[in-house]
Amino acid sequence: MAMDSSVKKTTLKLVLLTLTMFGFGFAMVPLYDVFCEVTGINGKTNNTPYQYQTEKVTIDKSRTVTIQFVTNNNDKMGWDFYPKTTELKVHPGQLESVVFFAHNPSEQAMVAQAIPSITPFDAADYLHKTECFCFNQQRLTSGEKVDMPMRFVIDQALPKHIKKLTLSYTLFDVTPSHSN
């Protein structure tokens, strides 16, 4: 039976709709990231270094914010990983520095990636890291220990109701052979 042209037209439109929706599924990936970044939902912080310009920044001495550092190991990640300072009182605008310790107790060299997250979520946009071990993967040989610096500044525009924030890092094993 020959397809009449109206059926052909409808089918063509519907096939196009199908392809569009397949594309939309993939478009949800960047859309989701953009949405999370713009709104700061999900505690996602920027993973590129922040440019700190001393002459432009005023330190807000009238305000003190507590920042806590938390670390977790994902799944079977066997490294020792902890912050050397667990809590700090800082003034917004002041550049601060802390050190995280990592140790690879295993028999082989391993590569790790730390993924940061901030609570409360609406503070995520106001924590700027000028330097962080999470910007890059960390490679440690068997038994190697390392002190990893993290420098940050809290924005003066941090909403007034936020008095305490928590920065947490989860450490993932990304050694190439475990690439599953």
Partner: protein, 527 residues
């Protein structure tokens, strides 16, 4: 089956080919409808067998029959098989049989593609089922296959699972395109959109939902495949991805999917209730608009499945209120069905029994859905048996009772014989008792804190679980009676007239019973 072929044909077309090849090569919408319905019933029994394994293990606390990994494969495959193998193909089967007849078309718009969309399915499910026998077992991550359970921690057979989901998706999309093309282009002259039976309307809207979300499902499994095989990190936090993203994409498909499984049942019930109340359907236009609103809303409520992932409060509130809004068009529908019955000359033949049970029990499932939509309360209900109770109430006496109601209602038209009314009623009452016994206690075990998808549980849940298992076995075995009734009806019985139901409306009842192999080769006159 040969009974379908008997009866004189009013046109000069040849009948069906002989033998098995008829079914392989057929492009006839009635044959393909029959294939879909039988396939769906086979999958219903297969998925039911897995439910038996689950309920046997849960009959008593403690680990008795299967190991936990196999138990997880059973819950996963039960869900997948019932959703994609039993419910969806059954509705496509009903659509194949009825939509062309209801709009006065000679066949589906693309008969050859129709053949393809069916024949993909047996291969997809053969592949999916074969994973159960592979090393590492079949899918064991739940029918929602959340990453990273379905990526990092998945069995090796997951690649085949992904392939079979792709095939099911292609089948559904082709079926949906065919239905839309038929409804939009092949209607008999005079059959305006607002004269179409509601079953056609609900299927038209369902077909659009399928085309909108099945590609998204295809997208999400493709991303999984890339994460598993090509080292991408869509859902892996270590590489900059996000497992929560999986849930967003999945439920963008998943919520409309639940309406895909219920809207056609709304259509079936909207045909049956007026027929047995001997009154026209109350509020036809509002029914059409309510269906369309439900379909629209289904796209903007997905994250109500994710209240506990750590969404900000504004998100929780938005998804809570948007979800509750769905109760409005659904309430309109329930109101219309009840008003149709009000002061009608009601009789309760088997299709009507199933339809009335549908209205009552689906509403119960709707109410527990409203409870789940309340974000703060959901923190208690999330991932408990309360959720299991909720979606089984909307799917078993909802989707499945809708399908069974439709089968009893149209069986005389398909076979030319009346089914055995007494046995039909026995089937209904045993199913009704069995399913309530199986699923009602789950509300209580869920509220008391029993988590879903576990092979063992605390002693306090023992009694209710035993009742659930007894009910499940009763419901399951009763379906063999259904099989018997249908076969008996195909073999013969009291001859059915062209319109065996006094109050029935629609073009299909203008045709003789059984419906000839080719119908409406010249379009009917629609008043």
């Amino acid at each position: 089956m040969s009974a379908v072929l008997e009866g004189h044909t009013t046109d000069h077309h040849h009948g069906p080919a002989k033998g098995l090849w008829r079914w392989v090569l057929t492009t006839n919408h009635k044959d393909i409808g029959t294939l879909y319905l039988w396939f769906s019933f086979a999958m219903f029994l297969f998925g039911g067998t897995m439910a038996f394994v689950i309920r046997a293990e849960l009959f008593q606390p403690g680990m008795q029959i299967v190991d936990p990994n196999f138990f997880n494969q059973m819950t996963t495959m039960h869900g997948l098989v019932m959703v994609f193998g039993a419910v969806m193909p059954a509705f496509v089967g009903l659509a194949n049989w009825m939509v062309p007849m209801m709009v006065g078309a000679p066949d589906m718009a693309m008969p050859r593609m129709n053949n393809w969309s069916f024949w993909i399915l047996p291969f997809a499910f053969a592949m999916l089922s074969s994973t159960l026998f592979m090393e590492g077992g079949g899918p064991n991550f739940g029918w929602t296959f959340y990453a990273p359970l379905s990526t990092t921690y998945a069995p090796p057979s997951t690649v085949l699972f992904i392939l079979s989901v792709h095939m099911m998706g292609i089948s559904s999309i082709m079926g949906a395109i065919n239905i839309i093309a038929t409804v939009l282009n092949l209607r008999a002259p005079g059959m305006t959109l607002m004269k179409m039976p509601l079953f056609v309307w609900t299927w038209l809207i369902t077909a659009f939902l399928l085309i909108a979300v099945m590609p998204v499902l295809a997208g999400v499994v493709t991303m999984m495949l890339m994460d598993i095989s090509f080292g991408t990190s869509f859902f892996s936090a270590a590489g900059g991805g996000d497992p929560v993203l999986f849930q967003h994409v999945f439920w963008f498909f998943g919520h409309p999917e639940v309406y895909i499984m219920i809207l056609p049942a709304f259509g079936v019930v909207s045909a049956i209730i007026p027929a047995f109340a001997r009154k026209p359907l109350f509020g036809y236009t509002s029914m059409v608009y309510a269906t369309a609103s439900i379909a629209f809303l289904s796209f903007i409520v997905w994250a109500h499945h994710m209240f506990t992932v750590g969404m900000p409060i504004t998100g929780e509130l938005y998804f809570m209120y948007a979800t509750m809004l769905i109760a409005v068009p659904t309430g309109v529908k329930v109101f219309n069905w009840i008003t149709t019955m009000f002061k009608g000359a009601l009789t309760f033949e088997t299709p009507m029994l199933f339809a009335v049970a549908f209205v009552i029990l689906f509403t119960i499932g709707g109410f527990s859905g409203l409870m789940l939509a309340i974000a703060p309360a959901d923190f208690q209900y999330h991932d408990t048996y309360f959720v299991v109770a909720h979606f089984h109430y909307v799917l078993v006496p909802g989707a499945i009772f809708g399908i069974m109601a439709g089968v009893y209602y149209w069986l005389p038209k398909w076979t030319g014989y009346m089914y055995d009314e007494t046995m039909g009623k026995v089937h209904f009452w045993l199913s009704f008792i069995g399913m309530n016994l199986a699923f009602f206690p789950m509300h209580f075990t869920g509220l008391a804190g029993m988590p879903r998808r576990i092979p063992d549980y605390a002693l306090q849940f023992a009694n209710f679980n035993m009742i659930s298992s007894v009910g499940a076995f009763l419901f399951g075995f009763t379906q063999l009676l259904f099989l018997f009734i249908v076969i008996k009806c195909i073999m013969g019985g009291k001859k059915a007239s062209a319109k065996p139901w006094e109050g029935a409306e629609g073009l299909e009842w203008m045709l003789p019973s059984p419906a000839p192999y080719h119908t409406f080769t010249t379009p009917p006159d629609v008043k």
